[in-house]
Structures are given as C-alpha cells and as structure tokens.
Symmetry: D2
Subunit: 387 residues, 4 copies
C-alpha cells in the first residue's frame, strides 16, 4: 500500500515528452523505419497525447526547431490543446546546417555565430507564440582534434552569444543550458560538464539554468551528487531523462540502471526539486531505435513515476537518524527498503481510481492505436532527425 | 639519424586503406559532405592510389560489400593495378538491411541468418575474383535492452554461422573476426571483446584469426597487452588502426594517444607481428568527418610509419637488462627515449632517397589533386555509408 | 508469493564467506579498526558461522594463506565443523613478501618464481588437509610503467608456473584463476581479463577454471555476457561477489548496481551455473571498511539470495517467445517484472518455515553477538590484511 | 635548437616537490620499503634539495601536516634554506584520525567538524611560521554506500567549514581546494569535480582557488578544457601533477599519457597560467611505489620541463590562422609538430650553460647520493603515509 500523501504528491507529477521521440532514429550505421511513424508535427503531438491519455503523466510536448517548424503556431497550440496536451520547451538546433561544421554559438566566424544567435532569437519568438517557458540549448559545438579550435576563445564567444540570447527573454521565460560529455564532437565539447553549464548560466542571471541529461556524463560519475549540488546552487532547471550503459544516451529512462534513477529522484525530492513549489522541469530525451515508439514513451513515463513513488517512500526521519549515528548498514538499508518496494500494484489501483488504465502498456496494446496509425500513415516522409 | 636496419624494416611496411575513408561520414546528428568526394568505387581507389603515390605506404585498398559492389571485379582489379595499388580485404556488411534489425549471423530467425551467411559466401566469391586474402567480419549484432535477446543462444548461433562461412574458404583465405565493445548496439554486442573473438576463431581453425580495432575497447584497457596475448596465441590477424578519446573510434590513428600507438607497435614488433615473416595485416579503419579525406589518410599512414620507426628504435638489449635487474626508471627511460626521438627528419631524407616526396602532406597540397577532384567530381551521388 | 519450485531451488544455494571479510580492511589512506574484530582464524570462523546460523546460506569459509595459516588444519577443520561450517577455497597470497615487488608466478628471477610456485604447492597441501576443493589464484603481478616488464615473457612464465601448480592437483581439486583489470599494478596486470584467464586455463586442462570477480572489469563492461560465455565454454569455476561504483571492488554485493547483479544471476541460471548439477562456486570477496563486518556479510548473502530469487522468477517461456518475435519492450518487461518483484516478504516467511529468523539482520542485532565479541576480543592483534 | 625566448621562459619555471614523495608508499595490498628512505622531515627536505641541485627546477618543498610536524618551524625553514630550497604549500590531513571515519569538514557531528576546522587553523599558524602562501585542502570525506550520508547537508557544512578557515587567512595567503573523483570513498566524495571546487571557492572569495590534480578525473575527461575554464574564471590556483592509466593517480607525471600533459601545458600557457605574472603554482603529487624516489622526482620535474618546452614551441600565430580557416589537419599538425620536436638535446646544452648537469638522471646516478643515504639512514622509522 502506498500512503496517500505519497499518492497526492505523485498526482502533481508531469513529464514532458519530446516530439522527436516519435520520429525515426538510429545510429550512424542505420536508421530503421517503423510503420506508423508520424510524418508531421501534428501527428507527433497526437502520439504524445495518446501517451498522456493512458498515463495522465505527460501533459506537454517539447518541440524541436526547425524539425517542428510550422507556419501557424497558434493553430498548432490549438491542435495540441484539442488533444489534451500543451506545447512545452522549445529546443534549438544548430547542428544540421553545413555552416555549423566547426561550431555555432562558439564559431570563430562572426557571420556564422550571428546566424546561430538569430536562430535562437527565432526560437524565442516561437516561444512567445506557443506560450512555452523554456528555451533549451544543447550545443553540438566542439572539435575532433587537439588544436582544431581554441578552447578558450570558443568559451568566451559562447558567453557572449548566450548573453545576447538571454537578453531577448521576457517574462518568466528561461534559458536552459544542457551539457554533454562527448558526441558529436569527440575531442572536446564546448559545454561538457555541469561546471561549465553552471559557470555560464551563473554569469547570465537568474533565469538561466542548467539542464541535466542523465546520459551525458563520464562513466562512474555520481549523478545524484550533481543533482544535489545544482539544487543547492539554485541552478537545476530541468532534466532530460534517458539511460545508457556505456554510451549512447538514448535508451529508455531507468532501463540501464534503475537504482541510479532512484537515487537521482531521491536527491531531487531531498533538495526541493519536486512538487508544486519547484521549477525543475522533468522531460524525456530519448529515442527508440529498435522498439516501438509510443509504448516506448509510455514505459518511460511509468518508469519515472514508479521510481518517484519509491523515492517518496524513503523514511527520511529514520534515515537522518541512521546517518547521524554512523549506522552505515542501517542508513543504506532504509534507502534500499524503499527501492525494493514493489509500488506497481498500488499505482495500478490508484490509476484506476483516477479513471486511468491500471496497466497503460496493456491498454495501449488493446487500444488499436498502433494498428490505426500504421494503416493511416502511409505515404509522405516519416519524421526523423533530418525533418 | 635512423639506423639503416630500421629503415630496411620500414621499407617492408604496408598499410591497407579502407575504401570508405574516402566517402562522406559523420555522426547520427549530421554527415557533412565535402567537395571532391568520390561517387564510385573507382574514384575511391584513385584517391587511395594517390595516398600510395605520395607515401609508398599504402599498396592496397580494402573493399566494403555492398558499398563497393561492381559487376566486373576483374576490371576493378585491373583499374586498381593500373593505378599502382591492389584490392585487399573484403569487408562484409550485415547492418544496413531492414531484416538485420535484430541481428544477422546471430539472428533467431533462420531465414535471416541464412541471408547473412549467404552474404558472406558472396563476399568469398568476390575474394576469389579480386584475389583478396581476408574476409573481415565486423558484426553490428547486439541488443539495446536486457532481455531483448538470449545472449547464450545468440553466441551458439554465431558459432554455427561462422563455421558455415569458414568452411567455404579456400587456399590461404582467412576469416578475420573483429570485436567491438559497443555500438551500434548499446546493451550488448555479440563479439564485444578479444576473448570472444579468440574463443570463436579458435573453435574454427587455423585460418580464423582476430582483428584488433584500436578504438574498440573499454576505457583504461591496456591494448598492447592484448596485442602481446593474441600474438602469443597465434591469433592476431590484423589491425584496424584509428583512435578515439572517449568514444567514437574513427579519429586519425595516433591522434588521441600517440604514446599508446607507440606501445602497441612496440608489442607488435616484440611479438613477431611485424616484418616479412608476419601474417599480421595493418589496415586503417577511420572516417574523416570534419577534415579532408585524402590528406587525412596520408597523415594516418605517416603516423603509423613514424611510430613504427620509433618502436624499432627501442634498444631491446638494454631494455631486457634493465627489466631483469628491476630498474624501473631505467627500463621506462629506454622506452621513452625511443618515443621522444624525432624521426621525422630522418624519414624525410629517406623518403627522398626512395623517390618519394620528403613531406607527403605538403606534396599533396602542392599537387593540385584536391582542386582537380573538386572540379571533376560534380554531379552524381557522393559515396557514404549507405552506398 | 514465491512459487515452491523457486523456493526449492533456493534451498540448495550456498555462498562461501571469505575469512578476511571479518578482519580490518581499508584503503592506502587508512584502515579503521573495529571493536570485536577477530584476532585469530578461529574467531573469523566463529563469525562466519554466526552468519550461517542466521541465514542458512553460508556453510563454508574460504581461507587465505598465509593469513590463516595454522599448525593443525585437522583441528581447524574440527573447529569449523563444530560451529556448523566447513573450510572452503584456499586462497594463495604472493603480494606481501618483499621479494614479490616485481612479480611472483611471472617473475623474471627463477628463484622468486620458484618460491611463488612452492607457495602454491603448500596451499595444495593445505587443501589436502582441509578437504578443500579449490585453489584460487589471484595474482597481484603486473607493472606500473611501460617498459618495466616484458609483457610477453611474463605471460609465458605464468603459463609455465601454472602448469607446475596444476600438475600437483589430485582428485577433484581445481585451480581457479582470477582476473583483475587493475590494482595493485597500475600499468598492466598479468591476468587482466577473462580472455587471459580463459586462454591460460584452457591450456592447462579441465580442472583449471576461471573465477569471475564482479568488481574486476572496466567501466561499461557487460559482465553477464562474460558469465554466459564462460558457462558456454565450460570454464566458469566460481564467483567472487562484491560491487563497486567506479573503483574499488570491495563494496557489498548488490550495493552499487542491484540490477546488474540480477542480470548476472539470470545468466548464471540460464547457462546452467546454478543448482545441484553445477560446479560453479559462489563466494563473497568483499571488505567492510566503514560498516560492521558480521552484519555486512549477512546483508551480502541476503542480497545474493534475494536477487537469485528474482532471477528464478523470470518467466522464461514468455521471454523466449517475446525474444523470438522481436518484441523488445515485451521481452525487457518480462525481465523487469521479475526484478521489480518484492521477494523479501516471501523469503522471510520461508526462512521462518525452515527454522531461520525471518529477518537475519534484525536477529543479529538482537542476538547480543556483537556486544559479546566486542567485550571478549580485547587485547591481541586484530586481523587485517597483514595477518 | 630551442629559441632563446623559450629558454628565457623556461628559466622562470619552478615545480614544488611534495615531502611525502620521498617516504614509502604503496597500495592497500603492500607498502614496499626502500633503503635510504628518510626518517625525518629534515631528511625529506635534503632529498628534495638534491633534486633541485641537479635540475634547478624544484626550489620549494610542500609539507604535510601532521606527517611533517616539528617543534620549531623557524629551524626547519633555516634547514631548508641552508640546502637551497624553501618551504612551500602546507597540506592538511583529516583522513587518518579515527574520528574522521565518517568525514571531517563535512561531519554531521559538530565536535568532529570543529576538530577538523581547528586542524586547518593550526596549519595556517604553521604557514605563518614557515612563510608558506598556500593551504591546500584535499578532503578524503565521502561515503561508501548510498544513504550513508546526506549529500546536501554535507555540502552545506563543507561551505561553513571552509568559510571559517578562509576567514583566518591573512595577507596573500590562499586556500586551495582540491577535487578528486573517487577514493578513499567509493560511492561519493564531497569535492568530486572542478565544478564543486569552483562553486565552493567562488563563494569564499578571491583568495580561495582550485587545485587541479591531473589524476583526479573520470576516464575520458578532457582535462585541458578544465584548465582553460578555470583560468578563464580566475580560479586556477595550482596543479598537482602526476599521471595514471585507469586509476590510481600517483604515477610519474607524463608517464601514462605524455600528449595529455603537453595539451594541459599548452592551455596553461594559452590562458596566462605560466610565467612571472601568473599565480598558478606547479606541484608534484606522486608516490613512488616501485621505483627509486629521488630519481623518480628528478624524472618528474624533467618531464614537466620538457613538455613545457614543447608547449612553448607551438607556433601560435600559424595555429590561430589555421583554426580560423577551418584547416583541421593543418591546425592539428602545428600542435603535433611542437609535441614531436625532441627538445632534450637543446635542454641539455642549456642546462650546462647554467651550471647544471646536462643529464640530471645520469648525474644523480654518478653522484653517490643514493649510496650515501642507503648507508647513512639505518635504524629509525622510515617515513610513510602514517608518519
């Protein structure tokens, strides 16, 4: 049985879906296509809405510009709302134009850098139209060979570019800077770690915060420590949830190391990053190379929900007492006790009480949705990372 | 001054170029195209021949099937020979067909597995036509999620598939099995380490050997130890040279950790893997995402040559003496002494004495070759990983 | 509810405890002592017996020579049996003598190598006296600097040393060779990976097998794959269970990545490594630097038992079906379903039905054992890695 | 030939030696003792002075408190000065007292935390007496198991402790905070990364800076990027030089990856961290487990000098031009050109011109110093990490 105060807290949980999770994706070796893959942003939103309909967990959809560019954002907004979801974070893209081969916001050529800044200003204009709060910047900038670029100069230019973008924000709009350890650049990336994202956003101001992508760290990194630190510094803006074993970072959240996800969520709660008073946004950033996309997203939000439930079950009073008395095994045992609790039956019952399917995965399989999109979405160009 | 016996040994060095190094490549995020990129296998071979013309180091070109498929291999062979190079290793490809989504030689579906085996038999037929000795198998097979596949069953099917392929070899043809730590599969790969490649090839027989790709190991792995071990076991078939920092494995050989390359080459020589009596094949397996391709290949073969020269300079008698007496600093110093020796002037002089340009990079820049291919190779489809 | 056939299989489980887990341990920075730490091997065995008394899981104790050397092994055997446990694996030690500074079984000096071989022959004589089946060899041999040793020569000498030791085994005695990625040597270790342990033991014969220590791999290594492979090759002799985050390998098994432990145990069962017909030995190899030692061991064997229970719960028929049909999410879901099942209440009930405490950790705390040893074990020298 | 402006810059280089490098050290498995090992801090300083005498590179010695505690620091200072060196950085130690088992500056028990703070105040008093400028704090604080400690609370207490210490500094004294990825704690360390060290020192004020130990990062980390970033932020206080392959961090600087050391030094110079106007302190922090200690230190400072020379040779104008024009191979080639230049003959000549031995390693071997200390330093207790 899950205590009602835990369920009450879970009721506030919202996890944003990435529109690109519904398109085709893969590796440099091969992108496999899937029947039913959306051809348009409207179809992506429809798929996201289906995830929300079955889970009650995913009320918003992040857009990726230019992949999700449309002429009429008001219409897109209405389309989303008619399906029961809203438009969320706007993600910029400065990695697919030929001019960005050697960088974008860090580029040594002022014309290229201008173009990259302007792209972000365009994204903010889209935010104005969609009502989105967050501009998320993940930079592909970096180099493949020592000497190829000037690390220091690139960092200075990045600071200047970000300042120009930040200045354009209005109201409660935020600039969210994501860091990534490696890829697509292999020698250095210009925002490789939380320290850099912190230093850069601290220099900008209060509405500049950090996005922690759970797959973007060196092996062995204690990610929950970074969560605790960024919350302490007031700079944790959002999560990109996913998982990985050695590398690539796009597996289903919780699939590679569920205990790590638990520890991360425990620190989120511990540090005030969960609940109505928190401004920390939860998002998925994954791709589904070999598995079906809509149920892949359902599985993902359920993983986050289940693990949040476990993290909320931790007996924090007992834990504090054990920690203070140096009872290593006792303290660890209290954490593990929550982790090993099977919250799934309790959540199923609770879901039903809220008019949701007890088992959203089974409900999806039974819904006929997959069959319908496979038969309806014929012709056109399936969405992928290029469109 | 480089001693003449070292130069004599260097004169025997040959490094095979991969045809795909001349085509476009990139990451899942973006493949940048380059002016002058070959449209046909004939143009790839022409580029490879240019590398050989300037360095005297690259007398053969590896082909990738189906990317380099032609109707008339005898004609292709003549084309290569007319340019001063020959056709080398045949590389199979079972990762770009939709049916291979869940595996090829390991696939649970016998029809798919049959198709993958047959592809390799076709490759052997091509070897018969091209006079190639080695069939190199790099398997993309693997899974992304625990439970997705049966690790044990896949390994057994792999053994059976390889046996069927091995049985088809004739004469001195070899099956060379490559291992790779991760990618494109992210949870498990079916040939992830040298142990697996060794166990599988040992079960096949003498003409099955292992390909060591220098970029395919976990961080911290002592690669030169594996070199020493495989040579000791008589199973080191060939090298795929390249380098990497954290991951991707396709940077220019020696670019990320030149000292590691030196140690590898030292163990190659130490274990009898270098010289006329050795059957170890040296190949590049790299891509040039952001740098020019032809000079990228020139730089690569020069790196291998220069580092081989340094490795040949090690005073092995003094080293053995220092090792035997427990003189740690002395022994290490003898190795470092060779590594820090600047062999470049000596090699430049020697190259000139052999009718080669002293500085092949400068010679290429001055040759007008790049300008010519950029103006000639207009229209058509640039070669890349899909073609 | 745990099905009775699963409980029946669990009833056969035995996990050997290492005598050194009860002594003090730590890092190069500091070894903290603990009240109640054994001063003698007899006291270590008493502690191990207490773990077995409360869990029914740990019927044997591994000894470490020379730390656990006694004059009368028959008496030690009787002592153990009187406490309800038996003596298990004999672990050799060639890393604490000054002569082994540059190696032992691989040493270039024949006198040192002879001494190291003789030490192992002495261990076998002890096995004859204790009735132990396994001689476990973990080698600290390696080098800290490139050039310090001759990798190839060391490997050849290792092969010769092992052959001399192997020849001395009688009856069903086994030589179990452990591999370790790094430490205490930092440039190379002479048995760094499963491939080396496999190649060396394969050369010896059937009674030479491999010990897989779960903490001895590079980051990102898929350990369950190695389990599957070694079982397939008939060479998985035993496990040293423990866990680690980045490095050191001596945390409580299951503490760092419980899901990994689950996957490992799943492959053990899948490959026939569990149950009465299997010869795979389960052992702990851990230390308790900051936590209490006896409950640390109790927690450890319970972790293995609980995770084995989960692994036995996997619906293998459904899994095979999902795997065969390419249902990635379904197959993964079947595995996760078992992992997320809370087996603890069922195991508690079952324990009671077998006359064991439902909660061995609580039972230990209530037993007064810790208080007793703390008051009794005063004076003398606490056991540690040096004694 | 090395240009004279490069030699002029090299003439200003100073590398501080750690007193503990001359004592015995090892791993948790074994500490090997060496003939001639100092028994007192005075003997350690004598050894350090010998390194300086032969290299002209090591004019100061760092002390470790309490290992190097004496009654009369004025006398110690005179002793050092009489040998031609001065006393440098004071290193605190809060990892060897039993009370620090669960932390020091982060400890939840105010009494323990007070003791740890007071230890640092004592260190500052010693700095006043020795004339040392820097208080270096490397914290062993951390936990081994999830739940063992409260990550957030520990960080807050750390901030408070550091503030109390910082407040006590006078004049140009600095607090230098070191970060370390792991060890001796294995689940989390309280100052694991540069981001944490930066955030903590930025909160303190201008005279709080960061110590970058080259061995304290996750695998794959681009360390030179951190160098560039910390210099940019004005927070790079000092280096602890050493090297490592996978882990431990105490090998001779430049031994594991000389090219990485080159890149680090290049960024130091690029960012203004080298030369008379820089406040960045260069130190060694290594141990010599298996090699002789005095020549181990000589080799180390020479490695830093040689690599600094190479880094100073980079043609920065040509590099900037190549970077600006997107000439990847050209830019990389310019860097590699400097790296591959053999500066050793030029440095040997220059050393002689300054009254130093051309080959300090050979000069040490010929000096009889080792023989003398081996015969003189008999009896007493050899220095090590406990004393």
């Amino acid at each position: 049985m899950i205590p009602s105060d835990v369920l009450d807290q879970l009721a506030t949980q919202a996890i944003e879906l990435p529109s690109w999770a519904f398109g085709n994706s893969g590796t440099r070796f091969k992108v496999f296509s899937t029947p039913g893959t959306p051809r348009t942003v409207e179809e992506k939103i429809a798929d996201a809405a289906e995830v929300h309909r079955l889970t009650g967990l995913a009320p918003s959809v992040a857009l990726h510009i230019p992949w999700d560019k449309v002429d009429d954002y008001a219409a897109l907004r209405s389309h989303a709302e008619s399906l029961g979801v809203r438009l969320g974070t706007i993600n910029s893209n400065t990695f697919q134009d030929d001019v960005y081969k050697f960088g974008s916001l860090t580029h040594v050529d002022e014309a290229v850098r201008r173009k990259a800044i302007d792209h972000h200003l365009e994204c903010i204009a889209i935010m104005d139209a969609t009502g989105s709060q967050d501009l998320k910047i993940w930079l592909a900038d970096g180099t493949n060979y020592p000497g190829q670029g000037d690390l220091r100069g690139r960092q200075d230019r990045l600071a200047d570019s970000l300042a120009q973008i930040y200045d354009r924000l209005t109201g409660d709009q935020r600039l969210v800077l994501e860091y990534k350890f490696f890829e697509p650049a292999f020698y250095h990336t210009d925002v490789p770690d939380w320290g850099t994202a912190y230093a850069q956003t601290a220099a900008l101001g209060e509405r500049a915060v950090v996005c922690l992508d759970t797959g973007h760290h060196a092996p062995g990194t204690n990610i929950e420590f970074i969560v605790a630190q960024l919350l302490r510094l007031g700079k944790l803006g959002s999560f990109d949830f996913n998982s990985r074993f050695y590398a690539d970072d796009d597996l289903i959240v919780g699939a590679a190391d569920p205990f790590q996800l638990f520890r991360i969520l425990y620190e989120v709660i511990r540090g005030g990053g969960f609940g109505p008073d928190s401004t920390v946004a939860f998002m998925l950033d994954q791709c589904h190379n070999v598995e079906d996309k809509v149920p892949g997203q359902i599985r993902s939000v359920l993983n986050v929900q289940e693990m949040t439930a476990r993290a909320l079950l931790v007996d924090t009073d007992a834990l504090a007492k054990a920690q203070e008395s140096g009872d290593v095994l006792g303290a660890n045992g209290i954490l593990m006790d929550a982790f090993y609790t099977d919250v799934r039956p309790g959540l199923a019952t609770w879901r039903e009480s809220r008019g949701l399917p007890a088992d959203p995965m089974a409900a999806y399989a039974a819904s006929g949705y997959q069959t319908r999109i496979e038969s309806e979405r014929v012709g056109g160009t399936q969405a992928g990372w290029g469109a």
